[in-house]
Symmetry: C2
């Protein structure tokens, strides 16, 4: 591993500390070195707050360091535009940093190479593409969102070897091991939102929060076309109910809509198609809220809707070493996985996690 | 790793060369050292031929070595009885070997510690239990057979993530990857027999031989209560048909029985129970032929029969990253896996192999 790669790896490490807090912004970490020594570090900590580069530069200045002759490492091209904060590229130029090493070009149309050009115009050396793959992977949510305007969608399921997510009476509460569930809670802390269908809330009354691990709660999205669910369900009545979003339609019970709105539960009215909520329309409306990543946690009907509309970027399939013989299947239709080239397996206690990505 | 463990590991390595050729005898390897140096090695190569100890001793003598003062390593207690060859324990005593290091005690009732006792009576030092676990695992077929008189039975299946072994029309020929299939062929070379139900032969017309890897063909066993299968099926008509065994009943077509017997296909008449071949009775009759290990390769009905009668020691479940949505399930009944404590996962190309053992 070269010195550049080592520094970039540190940027990625720093960047990932922002996971769950910066969306729909990207995860960015920054390291500044001078005379071969790290003089400061920074990362984007929270949506709306300073970018990684500004944090690192501020730290260096605070130490009284003259940045002339220094090299700045950052996993994503610095911003060129006024967003919530002024452009980082100008700050770099202003402080006479000599060289900028970038993981990957920012695909966002207001940046997209402009900063790289501007740095070069100001005679700052620029290297792009150090740990490019890793830098792209780290910001998979951001890249999908910026390029398509849609969310990064992951289907998460926990099933038996024979593909069952529950027994026929939905009485089999925990299919997967404690370690697998902890893994899922860690994922929830990183996704902007988790989404389930009405039946899942009806039957399991899940909390869909982050428990047993550190991290913030995601938005909890439920699809309920007619708003038939009892408002006593946990997602509507626990102390996190302001992080609940209901995807419903015009046919929703008006009284319930009013009650939920009073509780600060967000109601989104979506188009319907073949008697179901049009998930494509729903996603477009959710994207406008700045939600860039969604983990779909069930059930079978909801998986099917996302799959039919080709909206799924990734699968996280936990398989527990159990055989039910009969029960409810996670998948009820053939899925063409030809475009999903990256398949990885992880052991979580007695379970196996199959991770399938494009 | 101690010197004893290193030598025992070499014994296990040598022993495993006999896999597929020595059954129902155990796999045994032997190393003799003198003054800290290996002077000879041997293993049991073929059923009926010399045991590992005799091979190693003969090699040493051939080299003109005086075995007085030497140490003999062997993964299984030497035999004490006259079988196809005279007892190894007497040979060891006769050659004044000073010390014998044994992996695991032989559970066979005609040995079962007798050799250990006899060696000690002859003032030969004995150490038992070096790499005992590994030594037991290597001979799992032999241990099961000797202790229970029944076979070691492994269910092997290749399925999709959603637990399907074929589509509804049985048109989906290869579920698993080429590497997984190669793995299965390697397994076939080590099991005494592979077994399938009538439907599998009817639909897939499999060869059930060892291909693309080195190794001998196993016996091919088919359950066909009324002998309805066409005698043109590969297992009855290819050049290995003398390695085919049919488990049938009194209601078998007499003409077909005659034809098959002329072709040297072995016919075993079994009891029936609830209109099916009684697999327990079938196994008892197969055990008498010296078959100690069986890999059951399908289909669902056959798996179910073995599982219902609690005859399964191990599962080898290959999961291919495909989702069919509908089709034929490998398992149609709930299976209690509480007694199967050892669960391991292996990657084979794009597939995952779940290995479940007691």
């Amino acid at each position: 591993m070269t010195q550049d790669e080592k520094m970039m790896l540190r940027c990625l490490e720093l960047a990932s500390k922002g996971a769950g807090y910066v969306s729909p912004n990207p995860l960015v970490g920054c390291v500044i070195i001078k005379n071969g020594k790290v003089i400061s570090e920074g990362y984007h900590q929270k949506y709306g707050s300073y970018h990684a580069e500004r944090n690192a530069i501020n730290t260096a200045i605070g130490k009284g360091v003259n940045l002339k002759g220094s090299t700045l490492y950052v996993n994503l091209e610095p911003c060129a535009h006024f967003g919530k904060t002024p452009p980082c590229v100008d700050l770099i130029i202003q402080h006479k940093i000599s060289k900028v090493v970038i993981g990957v070009k920012d695909p966002y149309h207001l940046v997209a190479g402009r900063s790289i050009k501007k740095l070069k115009q100001n005679r700052i050396k620029v290297a792009v593409g150090v740990l490019e793959n890793e830098s792209t992977k780290l910001n998979k949510f951001f890249f999908k969102y910026v390029k398509t305007g849609l969310h990064y969608v992951t289907i998460k399921t926990a099933q038996t070897i024979d593909g069952k997510i529950a027994d026929e009476n939905y009485k089999s509460k925990w299919i997967s091991s404690a370690e697998s569930r902890r893994f899922v809670h860690n994922l929830r802390a990183k996704y902007d939102a988790v989404l389930v269908g009405r039946n899942t809330v009806e039957r399991d009354n899940p909390q869909l929060t982050v428990r047993n691990v550190k991290g913030r709660n995601p938005y909890r999205i439920v699809i309920d076309k007619n708003l038939k669910l009892s408002l006593r369900k946990k997602i509507f009545s626990d102390k996190f109910h302001d992080k609940t979003i209901v995807l419903t339609s015009k046919s929703a019970n008006k009284g319930k809509v009013k009650t939920l709105e009073k509780r600060n539960v967000k109601i989104i009215f979506c188009e319907t198609k073949n008697g179901l909520i049009d998930v494509k329309d729903a996603l477009r409306k959710l994207a406008k809220l700045g939600i860039a990543s969604i983990m779909v946690e069930g059930g079978a009907k909801t998986y099917s809707e996302f799959l039919k509309h080709k909206l799924v970027d990734e699968f996280m399939i936990f398989i527990a070493p159990k055989i039910m013989g009969s029960g409810i299947s996670a998948f009820t239709e053939k899925i063409n996985l030809d475009n999903y080239k990256r398949i990885n397996y992880f052991k979580t206690d007695r379970d196996i996690l199959i991770n399938i990505k494009k």
